[in-house]
Structures are given as structure tokens and as C-alpha cells.
């Protein structure tokens, strides 16, 4: 288009030249001197018949200009001087036009780029400001932790959609929190309701064995009752514990030195270990984790207790602790059930006196901390392995990285 305008300009100049030549001929009745400059040539040639007035484009090889093809615009028109018809031609180089065109294009493109850049920046800033309440709500949702009693903080906004979103999020979290608290109350109440009858049975048994009139057969029956009540008590406590862990009711993670805890546990369990004449191989390197101390204790208790309980007489128990994993393996008869169900509740071998909840609890604790607990049976050994999340040992880094990943979509 710009080219069209420029050609039009050029044509105008050619026409002016034509008019000048015509007026020269008209007043003096003779041809002007042909001229040849770099950008404009005028020439006349005698012709038999008047040529049709026309504009033409052509290119010509220019020797003095590095043998380049140069574009020209030419106006041909007839001139009559003293009865003789001539063909006049006015030729102008289009080169300048081309140069001008290139410059105009360049400047225009530059302007467009600058404008686009500014538009982009303005858009970004504006969008960020507009979406800010949304991202703050999103961030609040991400940080939302039921076990902490913090509400989500919303940025004030005039945008109705965001206000709707904030209200809905607020209502939803309130409802979740209420349900959560009801569940917690239920857990506590269930505990109360079941523990008291158990306490009564237990206390009556304790009183009964004081009776000196009892025969040995009564004692045997009482012992069976004791054991049954003991199992009920453990079952009840394990179920409550499992619910509590599931509901994430244990906060307060603190650095825990696992190697020291394992040593302590082994001392605590030395009696059961000695009775079974077990060989303990502990290959333990320092490993610090961010965990709740009580849960760590239960986790080790259940894993080591299992490895002792389901071991052979004079069997072995191997413990390997590294920064990345804890592996506890023990000799023992192969499972009498599907290994895939080993972490399910109430899965246990027929001979087991346990509740069948020990490994379910261990699994739940591992899940809560993002650890992978796996089971394998190789060469007559039951192998339980906890793969710690690598980043757990460097909590600060992991948190930073996680945030960076989550932030990227709206950056």
C-alpha cells in the first residue's frame, strides 16, 4: 500500500515533468534539451505515429552501480513540434522510493514492537493485580491444614466472581473443619464408651484372683479372660490410634535421631529378644527425620515387635539404617496369606496373637510422612523397608522447590 502511494508520488513528479515539457513546446515550439541525470532522464525520439500515453515499469542493469538491476518508472507521451511527432519519455529511478519504503517499514516495525512490548507489560501488571485475590485464595487453599486452626486469609476484592469464590471456599473449609471436629469428638467418645466397660471387666478380674478359694481350673479360665481383655484393650487402642493418625491429629514434627531411637528400642525389647535367642545385626548410620516423636516410637515399636514376634527361635533380625531408608528383615515362616494384603487392617497369620493392626498403623504413619513402606520375602527373610522421601532430610530445600513448581503456572 505504501508502495502504491509512493509510486503515485513518483507518477505525479513524472506528470509535472510532462506538463513542463508540454508547456515548453507550446510556448517556444521547440523541444527542450534532453537531459540525463542520475535520477531523472528525459529523451525524445521521432515517431511515425503518436505513442499512447502510458506509465511503464522496467529494470535496467546499472554498470556504475555494482551491476545491480535497478527499478525505473517511465512516462511515455507524444509531443508534436513543428508538425513532427516525437515520443517523449521521462524516466525516474525508483531506487529512492525503494529506500524510503525500506525505512518506513523499519520505523513502523520498530514502533509496533515497542508498542507491543508496552502493551504486554501493562497487561501483565494489570492481570496480576486483577488475579491477585484469586491466587491468594489458591495459595491459602494449598496451605490449608486441618490440624492447624488457621483460616484462609482472603485479599479484599471488588470482583464479584472472586468474592463468590472466597465465600464458597470459606464455607467449604468451615464445613470440613466442623466435620473434622465432629470426627475427633467421635473418636474421643468411642474411646470413652469402650474403655470404661473394659476397665470394669479388668478390675473385676483383678479382684477375682484375690480369692483364695479359687481352684486351679478357675485360674486357667481367668487367665484366658485376662488375655482376651488385654487383646480387646490393644485392639481398641490400635483402632483409635489408627483413626487419629488417619485424621492427622498428630502435629508437632521435630527432628528425630532415628539411630538413637533404634538403639533404645532394642534395649527396651531385650527381654523378648533374649527369650527367643535372636541374633541382632544392626548396621545403623545416623539419620535425622522430621517426625512426631510419639509416632516414630510407635512405628519402630510395631516394626521391631513384628520382627521379633514372627521370628523363629534362634532366628536373626537385621536392621539397616541409612539416610535414605530403614530396612528391617527377620527370619520367619512364609506368610500364610496374600503378601499384597499385608498392610491391610486385620490381616494376620492364623497363629498370630496380634491385633492385625500393627503394620496397618505403620503404613498409615509412613503415608502421612510420604515414606514408602514395602514388603518382600526373599531367601526365608521377611523384609520391611521404609524409603524416606529424600527431601525429608533436607526439608527446607524441598519446600522451596515444591513452591517453585507450584508457582510456575501463573507466573
Amino acid at each position: 500500500m505504501i508502495r502504491g502511494i509512493l509510486i503515485h508520488e513518483l507518477d505525479d513528479a513524472l506528470r509535472v515533468e510532462e506538463a513542463e515539457i508540454l508547456s515548453h513546446v507550446h510556448t517556444l515550439d521547440q523541444l527542450p534539451e534532453p537531459s540525463s541525470y542520475r535520477d531523472q532522464q528525459i529523451s525524445f525520439a521521432p515517431a511515425a505515429t503518436p505513442v499512447r500515453r502510458q506509465f511503464i515499469n522496467f529494470t535496467r542493469l546499472e554498470h556504475h552501480r555494482h551491476d545491480e538491476w535497478q527499478p525505473y518508472r517511465q512516462l511515455l507521451f507524444p509531443v508534436t513540434v513543428k508538425g513532427q511527432v516525437y515520443t517523449a519519455s521521462v524516466t525516474k529511478s525508483e531506487e529512492e522510493t525503494e529506500d524510503l519504503l525500506a525505512w518506513i517499514m523499519l520505523v513502523t516495525a520498530g514502533m509496533i514492537l515497542v508498542l507491543l512490548g508496552m502493551l504486554f507489560m501493562a497487561n501483565r501488571l494489570l492481570l496480576r493485580r486483577i488475579w491477585q485475590p484469586f491466587y491468594q485464595t489458591l495459595d491459602g487453599l494449598r496451605r490449608f491444614d486441618l490440624s492447624k486452626r488457621e483460616s484462609i486469609v482472603h485479599a479484599p476484592t471488588t470482583i464479584e466472581e472472586f468474592r463468590h469464590l472466597q465465600t464458597v471456599v470459606q464455607q467449604m473449609t468451615e464445613k470440613i473443619r466442623k466435620d473434622y471436629e465432629m470426627l475427633r469428638d467421635f473418636t474421643d467418645n468411642a474411646s470413652h464408651e469402650m474403655q470404661t466397660p473394659l476397665a470394669i471387666i479388668n478390675s473385676k478380674l483383678d479382684l477375682m484372683i484375690q480369692d483364695q478359694q479359687l481352684k486351679e481350673m478357675h485360674h486357667r479360665q481367668l487367665q484366658a479372660m485376662y488375655d482376651a481383655v488385654g487383646r480387646l484393650r490393644q485392639l481398641n487402642q490400635s483402632l483409635l490410634l489408627l483413626t487419629k493418625i488417619e485424621n492427622n491429629q498428630f502435629g508437632q514434627a521435630a527432628p528425630v535421631a532415628l539411630e538413637i531411637l533404634i538403639e533404645k528400642k532394642l534395649i527396651q525389647m531385650e527381654d523378648p529378644i533374649r527369650v527367643k535367642h535372636l541374633t541382632i545385626n544392626a548396621d545403623v548410620l545416623p539419620c535425622e527425620l522430621q517426625m512426631n516423636a510419639y509416632l516414630t516410637d510407635i512405628l519402630l515399636n510395631n516394626l521391631l515387635g513384628n520382627a521379633i514376634r514372627h521370628n523363629y527361635e534362634r532366628g536373626t533380625l537385621n536392621i539397616v539404617l541409612r539416610q535414605e531408608f530403614l530396612q528391617i528383615s527377620n527370619t520367619g515362616a512364609p506368610l500364610s496369606f496374600d503378601p499384597a494384603t499385608i498392610f491391610d487392617r486385620f490381616t494376620k497369620g492364623g497363629h498370630s496373637e496380634g491385633t492385625g493392626l500393627g503394620l496397618a498403623i505403620a503404613k498409615q504413619i509412613c503415608d502421612n510422612y510420604g515414606f514408602a513402606l514395602t514388603y518382600a520375602y526373599e531367601d526365608g527373610m521377611h523384609i520391611l523397608r521404609i524409603q524416606f522421601k529424600h527431601s525429608m532430610t533436607r526439608a527446607g530445600h524441598s519446600e522451596f522447590r515444591q513452591n517453585a513448581v507450584l508457582d510456575s503456572p501463573h507466573e
Partner: protein, 223 residues
């Protein structure tokens, strides 16, 4: 010694009453919050067994009232709520100990005896069983001036029997007291520890006070 049992579950209150009632303990029971409040205001007790989940009020309020009146009664909280927060808040309010239901009466007896000993025989950290003398402060045992070399478990066993003297203590109660839930389902080692304890006491010249009761429990008898 005067004890108050605050427990709204009558069957349990009766059990505790019969177990603790003996010649030097006088037990009273209160079956409700209001009854307990009246009792506490009127009398002083050496130890109060406090169930905090009462029908008509929170037992912790009684504890608060006790402390604000500067009463010196020892308090053992009995609760079905085993959660850590309850335990911590109970002890922070000034309770001496915390016991979660269900419990063995022998465990309760030992805790009550320990509270009373700490509160009332100030300066006296000794428990005497005929010719056996237990120094609770130093955690050491002497028989006729001769010091005994007991392991930690043996010492704990002897102390447990001493607090429950004259009563049959079940094997399950001993296992729970000494090992918690870490027994691995095996009680055989209790027998080993008791055998060793009896041997050491016998070698030092003490009487054989610990008897086995049909393999289901043990009893320390001082005639």
C-alpha cells in the same frame, strides 16, 4: 490415710474401693460431680482418684477448684481419654499422675501408693518389707544392711510388689507395667526376672515373700 474415689461408673468404683480398702486406707466414693465437690470442700484427702469424664461436669474443674483453694490433696486422674493433650493439661493443672482406662487395679494401687508416699512421708524415701529396705530415692535395695545388686527390671518388680503387697498381681499387669506393649506377645521372661529376684533376695538372707499363684500371677506376702 484417706482416699476419695470420684467415679460415676458404679461397678468400677466398687472394684477400686474393694481393692484399695485395707487396714490403713479409708476409702470414700463420690458418684457425681456435685457430690465430689461437696466432699472435697468439707474434707482433706491424702489422695483423690478423679475420673474427669463425669456425667454432670468436667473433673478438671474439680482439680482447678482444689488448686485455687490451695488444698494439698494428691490427685490421680483416671480417664478414658488417652490423648496426649488431655494428659498434658491434666498434669499442668497440678494432678500428680494420670492413668488411662482400662487399667489393672495393681497398677492403680502402685500409683496411689507412690503419690501418698511422696506427699506424706516427706523425708522418708524408704519402704520396708520386713527385712528388705527399698530406697526409692536412690533406687537401691538392702537386706539386713547388705546392698543388693538388682537389675532395673528386678527393682521395678520388687517395688511393684511392695506397693501391692498382700494382693495377687496378674502376669498381664506385670507385663504391662514393665514392658508396656513391647512384650512381643510373650510373657516367659517375667518368670525369669522373678526367679532371679527371688534368688537374689534369698541369697541375701531375706525371707521368700513372693509366691507364684497358679502361674497366672504373683503375690508378695508379709505375715
Amino acid at each position: 490415710m484417706k482416699l476419695l474415689i470420684i467415679e460415676d461408673e458404679k461397678a468400677l468404683a466398687d472394684s477400686i474401693y474393694s481393692y484399695l480398702q485395707q487396714k490403713d486406707f479409708v476409702c470414700e466414693t463420690a458418684a457425681s460431680f456435685t457430690e465430689a465437690r461437696d466432699r472435697i470442700e468439707q474434707y482433706d484427702y491424702d489422695c483423690i482418684l478423679l475420673d474427669i469424664n463425669l456425667q454432670d461436669g468436667n473433673g478438671l474443674e474439680l482439680l482447678k477448684a482444689l488448686k485455687s483453694n490451695h488444698k494439698r490433696d494428691g490427685v490421680l486422674i483416671i480417664s478414658a481419654r488417652g490423648s496426649l493433650e488431655d494428659r498434658v493439661s491434666g498434669l499442668q493443672l497440678g494432678a500428680d499422675d494420670y492413668l488411662t482406662k482400662p487399667f489393672h487395679l495393681s497398677e492403680l494401687g502402685a500409683r496411689v501408693a507412690a503419690i501418698i508416699r511422696r506427699r506424706h512421708s516427706a523425708g522418708s524415701n524408704f519402704i520396708r518389707l520386713e527385712d528388705i529396705l527399698i530406697d526409692v530415692q536412690a533406687r537401691s535395695v538392702t537386706v539386713r544392711e547388705r546392698s543388693l545388686d538388682l537389675t532395673r527390671k528386678e527393682y521395678q518388680l520388687l517395688l511393684y510388689f511392695a506397693y501391692n503387697k498382700g494382693r495377687v498381681v496378674s502376669r498381664n499387669a506385670i507385663a504391662e507395667h514393665l514392658w508396656g506393649d513391647d512384650t512381643g506377645g510373650n510373657y516367659d521372661f517375667i518368670y525369669t526376672h522373678i526367679k532371679n529376684l527371688r534368688r537374689k533376695l534369698g541369697e541375701a538372707g531375706a525371707g521368700d515373700y513372693i509366691q507364684s499363684v497358679y502361674g497366672m500371677g504373683y503375690k508378695l506376702t508379709i505375715s
